[in-house]
Assembly symmetry: C2
Amino acid sequence: MKYIEKLRNSGLRPTKQRLQICEVLFNSEKTFHFTINDLDQKIKKQISDKISLATIYNTVHAFEKKGYLKQIPINSNQIYFDTNISDHHHFYDLKEEKLIDLENADVGPINILKKINGKKIKSVEVLVKLED
Amino acid sequence: MKYIEKLRNSGLRPTKQRLQICEVLFNSEKTFHFTINDLDQKIKKQISDKISLATIYNTVHAFEKKGYLKQIPINSNQIYFDTNISDHHHFYDLKEEKLIDLENADVGPINILKKINGKKIKSVEVLVKLED
DNA sequence: GTAGTACTTTATAATGATTCTAAAAAGGTG
DNA sequence: CACCTTTTTAGAATCATTATAAAGTACTAC
Ligand SMILES: [Mn+2]
Ligand SMILES: [Mn+2]
Ligand SMILES: [Zn+2]
Ligand SMILES: [Zn+2]
């Protein structure tokens, strides 16, 4: 199967649940943004087996740790994840409460002039809030 | 008093609790970042009267609505607020779990090239994650 | 294959930040 | 002072997330 090696290579056993979650997350043309609740709904629609909510949490966190998912820094009562793990940015539509990808190319190069002693930059993320 | 007019001008009654919270938030030389829990601790240290947690929540939200405080978009189990309401950015030190201000001048000008139909840009915020 | 072991799933409970409730207190106005 | 509105408050409720621990599954060694 498509995702068995991917999981094995990360030291994650390719269980039925994880493979099914992979299908839901990574088998679509487009990448997308989701909360755990969104994902739970999507799984219910696409998968006939039941996957417990605890497993969904566990799996999403495991995938995030392995770099298959990213968290998006945003203030919300739920955590937003992204299946687009490329270096990119986001619009946040305040009215629709929706995230929209903003590719690196759509943002001029960002040059952080200030340096912090003994620290390295791990990521630079831009959030552009949108209103009507 | 210093903050009575400020509150009245915003349509907020200058209660004892709000004035005391103003002292803690706005009377220091430097601006700072805080969670509600941080603020609760700070109030306990600096103010002899007890202020209920509900009032702290109410007041912080009222001040945010009036523009005296800003929320910082970041993934945490608590909401981070900023008494620095100027247009600026942040470092986030992942190990220390601390925010550091990054003035606009410390970030090159940011040019958002992509436009979203019918939407205006309300804010552009950069989060720079730091590791050792 | 079987046995042994570590990992995973699961239902359920616990946690904890935040919000809600509704009654008491305080502010503002005349 | 009355009157009305806003605010404070203790405590309860909410709800996303995490922890627990027992049952199930995957892998390894023989
Ligand atoms: Mn289904
Ligand atoms: Mn803190
Ligand atoms: Zn994205
Ligand atoms: Zn700041």
